[in-house]
Symmetry: C2
Subunit: 273 residues, 2 copies
């Protein structure tokens, strides 16, 4: 197997550089990549230090490392470009074209995207995170009118991380309520959910996967028996169908995919930074 080192180099957090680089290297399954992030490379000294590490990887691997860089300042970029590496610079590739298209010079300010550029947007994301925590796992069953979406599903079907992602990434006020056996025995939706029907969204999961997750949490309990998982999943699916609640299967789907699909299906606009 071929081996390369991939460096994600940034003058700020490195989160954009990682996203950029990972989306490209994930297209090369036949190469094994060692991943190194070098954030806060915001001075010539730090650029020299980064170059040293990159050149060391070149020596060790016997092949050019890849650099995925989001560096705004030209003097820092020029130092990195001199290292023994294959250099992809996202800003430098596109910013000139964009300046031309928009007939405006760019501000060349660093830390734009993952900083606190827009306080209002940032605060609303943090509010959404607090909301998700307050309305997690049925902790509050009143005030659901302040929620934009209410996820339903059996315990451990992926509701909590999905709500947190919706909040953190998109600033969405997402509540979640765990459908318990008691709810299922009562046949039909819990009363307090009825006025909020149009906000309900279901998550389901394959019983075998559910059992594995529950087993990690409460091993050898009734809760984590396969039969119990099957029974609950079957009953919750019946509820979703009866009540006409849209749902997704979380078994092999990441919280990123679940969140973005939920927004598409329910027609909620993303509030991006």
């Amino acid at each position: 197997m071929k081996r390369r080192t991939a460096f994600f180099v940034s003058d700020r957090t490195g989160i954009t550089a990682e996203t950029l680089g990972l989306s490209l290297i994930s297209q090369f399954e036949e190469v094994h990549f060692t991943q190194v992030t070098l954030p806060f490379v915001d001075s010539e000294d730090k650029a020299q230090e980064a170059t040293k590490r990159i050149n060391q990887a070149f020596e060790a691997d016997g092949a050019r490392p890849l650099i995925f860089a989001t560096i705004i300042k030209q003097d820092i970029r020029e130092i990195l470009e001199r290292s023994h590496a294959f250099y992809i610079d996202y800003f430098n590739t596109f910013i000139g074209q964009l300046e031309h298209e928009l007939e405006t010079p760019s501000t060349k300010a660093i830390g734009r995207i993952h900083g606190m550029r827009n306080t209002t947007v940032y605060n609303s994301r943090m509010d959404a995170v607090n909301f998700a925590l307050n309305f997690d796992d049925g902790a509050k069953t009143s005030n659901y009118e302040t929620a934009e979406i209410i996820l339903l599903g059996v315990s451990r079907s992926g509701k909590t991380p999905t709500c947190l992602y919706l909040a953190m990434q998109f600033g969405i006020h997402a509540a979640n309520y765990p459908i318990t056996e008691e709810d299922l025995d009562n046949d039909g939706l819990p009363k307090f959910l009825m006025p909020h029907r149009q906000k309900l969204f279901g998550l389901t999961i394959e019983p075998e996967r559910l059992q594995t997750i529950r087993q990690g949490r409460r091993p050898n309990s009734r809760y984590s028996e396969l039969e119990q998982c099957k029974r609950e999943v079957k009953a919750v699916m019946k509820l979703f169908h009866q009540e006409n609640i849209p749902y997704l299967n979380s078994t092999n789907v990441s919280i990123e995919e679940l969140s973005t699909k939920i927004l598409v299906i329910s027609g909620i606009e993303r509030r991006i930074r």
Copy 2:
């Protein structure tokens, strides 16, 4: 002010396309951008539909929209390229260069980065999210040996969202403990934290900002008085200095910046996807 519509178009979640596009357009403060994300554009029909929306924006704005696309399939890309827009295609720009550098064809598989490509990595991120919730706000003060980092600070100094971000983005096991007045009166670290000194990391905040946040939570209480906030922040700073605990000021710093700085300072490697 100039106005443009920016489209983030993807065959999957659109999260990468948004990150790419936002990092570029945030460099043009003199242009007002209307932002539209079109995720799951994975068929020719959907590409035609997207093109229609893009062309409508062209008509409405009287200027070419920008498209930031992460589209793998060529037939879909070709449809989008025919719209009246300025088209930036991240994959198409760099994938050929990378194939050449790596002497390997790319797999051209969609949904690589935000899907559940690597189940082990994904599960460890989800474990970390559960960990952050279990060890949030001093909910558990035993078993701290399983934590990689323990954030300390007064109530509402930004500990919880930072822990959740560390978990969700980097798969780090982050606990947090709120330093209360009682702890501060006792002078010194709570006993159960002492064995974990090397994992402690402080967050501080400007008292005025703290007051605003607390005021939103419990208006007109002692908790949200400016004097009270000043007193707590002063005492916690004294504690950080006395105990030699590294700390950051969260006042104007985003959770992305806090998280990445904490990792740099404490020398913890990011576990990226």
